[in-house]
Amino acid sequence: MSKRVVITGLGVLSPIGNDIPTFWNNLINGRSGVAPVTQFDASEFPTRMAGEVKDFDPQDYMERKEARRMDRFVQFAVAASKDALSHAGIDITQEDADRIGVYIGSGIGGLKTWETEHKKLLEKGPRRVSPFFIPMMIANMAAGQVSISTGAKGPNSAAISACATGTHSIGDAAKIIERGDADVMIAGGSEATITPIAFAGFSANQAMSRRNDEPEKASRPFDRERDGFVMGEGAGILVLESLDHALARDAEIIAEVAGYGMSGDAHHLTAPAPEGEGAARSMKRALKDAGLELEEVGYINAHGTSTDFNDKFETMAIKSVFGEHAYQLAVSSTKSMTGHLLGAGGGVEAIATALALKEGIIPPTINYEHPDPDCDLDYVPNEARRVQVSAALSNSLGFGGHNATIAFKAFGGEE
């Protein structure tokens, strides 16, 4: 019989906080983490704001020498993983190391390292490129370095599916536990792409908001005046554990990972499939996997990027899956506060969803001012809502037509 999977630890680095209490407090108080870019001179760019991680010193988590060998996205993953393990009260020993695995992806990987080393190649020639270039840049290295720095020797891999990366990583990791291949998985996503080449690329896609005069209001999912996403950075890491293992060590259980669904659009590089049918199939599979009735779902943490297309098509997808119940559900996009953390988004949003179930509070969609006839659901506008729901979904939809959904249940006991 397959194992039940629960969440027992959380670790976050985000534009609205570098620890769980700060992150959650800002989330339910509707505070934005978006501000003018400080990591590079963005004055020539059409978009000049981002959700940056503030006051992060890697040496709070690791030796200087280790930090030097890591791109920022890897530092984020290692730091958040250490916090998540400590939150879960897990100390990896020789005896259990093989039963504890890591599944952490990044949508893009070490873009900053890539930029720095490519500049050396062009200006100084091939001999000047760092021997650390490849091992710092490759997108799987968050999973590699987390294993190195925590001693986790179980299953180890990384999903790379653009903005669906974090959700795929958590879903795939849960399945590893479900089939009995590990007792504990450290899972999530990490991203650090506030760099000139990323801004240039996403601007060329016309995907980013240009509301530079009001950075905190720029990420406005489902609002009629939305004009693109705001890039964020950070890491969201969860400790997943088989229910048996968690109960045996008397761990505090935050929520249950009840189901996982994914699908491909087979449609376009960047645009969602018509009517959001790919996202709809992903949600249906997660519901089926979890054995959930439509009416049991009380909250959806939407992908909700604040782009014209995403928010419209995701709304259609929710309506096509839930029918009339779509209007009874609470749907919110926490990206309104964090910005879009790309491959880390699914990780951070899984944390938000799990905490919503545990605390009985649904975080809002902030900056919701102008209703859009194409987006006519209950988006929990501007104010958090105190309501205990029993099940929730978190959606992530990525360039390439990758759709992933995790179904969570509030943990109510062993039944």
Partner: protein
């Protein structure tokens, strides 16, 4: 000569995160100071910049101790 040692020490302390007192002429870069092969290559690049010289891979392979680095640099300048 002392100047070369100082500059090499500074780079090693920075790159390897070791204490300056450990970076003696006799210290082995790998065995005593904990460098791996990637660290050594990275340090060579830094030394090349610092001393405006090129250190061939063959020469780099012969380096064992801090003193070897200092002697090599002084023999070239």
């Amino acid at each position: 000569m002392a100047d070369t040692l100082d500059r090499v020490q500074r780079i090693i302390v920075d790159r390897l995160g070791v204490d300056a007192s450990e970076v003696t002429k006799e210290a082995s870069i790998k065995d005593d100071l904990g460098a791996d092969s990637l660290d050594v290559m990275d340090m060579i690049l830094e030394l090349e910049d610092e001393f405006s010289m090129e250190i061939s891979d063959e020469e780099a392979e012969k380096i064992n101790t801090v003193g070897d680095i200092v002697a090599y640099i002084d023999s070239r300048s």
